[in-house]
């Protein structure tokens, strides 16, 4: 029978492995998808969503209370995939010469699954126990800070004529910042 230290290391280890493997798989898959789609950043975003799903299956062995309820995880995955799918269609439609009023309506369509994702994420975080909620919210705060600093720095570099990047890199930076924040807070409350 495992003692508490071994038991703890096992579930924490499984949690970290799940997240890291998921993100790594997502990034690798994203590079392939990006090559197919023709946009690496879009590929990374799609890959990360798939990678998180892969990571969840590894994470599944950890006790309830450390992870989101399965039905909310599925809603997050479905809303995320819907958002990305609609986004790809919108980007394709924007290349067609449509009336500006129609273009404006088209670009607002992805906000619907986006809002669904946000509401589900809020419910998922609220379902966790108090320490897990704190870990998630601290991770989001750290990710927000990292995203803001990277975006501002990159904007300044652009004004100096040194950098010019697509807006699509913004969500990638935000997710990566959240990932770093999550690793930090998991270690802090080990």
């Amino acid at each position: 029978m495992m003692n508490n230290n071994q038991e703890n290391k096992t579930s924490q280890g499984e949690a970290r492995k799940g997240i890291m493997i998921g993100m790594a798989a997502g990034m690798a898959l994203g590079a392939v998808i990006g090559f197919i789609v023709g946009d690496i950043s879009m590929g990374f975003i799609i890959g990360m969503v798939i990678g998180m799903a892969v990571g969840y299956w590894r994470f599944r062995d950890t006790p309830i209370g450390m992870r989101y309820p399965p039905h909310l995880v599925w809603q997050l995955i479905i809303s995320g995939v819907c958002y990305l799918g609609i986004l790809i269609i919108v980007l394709y439609l924007l290349e067609i010469d449509l009336d500006q009023s129609v273009q404006i309506m088209i670009v607002l369509v992805p906000t619907i699954p986006g809002l669904w994702f946000l509401v589900t994420l809020g419910r998922a975080i609220a379902s966790l126990d108090e320490l897990q909620r704190r870990i998630q919210l601290e991770a989001i705060a750290i990710g927000f800070g990292i995203s803001a600093i990277v975006a501002l720095t990159y904007g300044l570099l652009g004004m100096a004529g040194l950098a010019q990047a697509s807006w699509m890199y913004v969500p990638v930076v935000m997710v990566f910042g959240w990932f770093l924040g999550k690793m930090w807070t998991l270690w802090r409350y080990r």
Binding site: N4, N8, E130
Partner: protein
């Protein structure tokens, strides 16, 4: 905040997982409280004391850091 959680758990022969189940929290939460890395909220502190049939003061000891 110091606490006697580990000692009380050992007296009852409970694992962290079983205590977490009784408290309806994750095992990481129990571990973090035992190691002093996390101070529980008041409702959780009351719940912990109730599980051991003790008062909060008998489980937790406030210390100024």
């Amino acid at each position: 905040m110091k606490n006697k959680l580990r000692q009380l758990r050992a007296e009852h022969n409970w694992s962290q997982a079983s205590l977490a189940e009784k408290l309806d929290v994750s095992r990481q939460t129990v571990n973090a409280i035992e190691n002093g890395r996390y101070d529980p909220s008041l409702p959780l502190a009351f719940k912990i004391a109730s599980v051991f049939n003790l008062s909060i003061e008998e489980v937790f000891e406030y210390s100024e850091e």
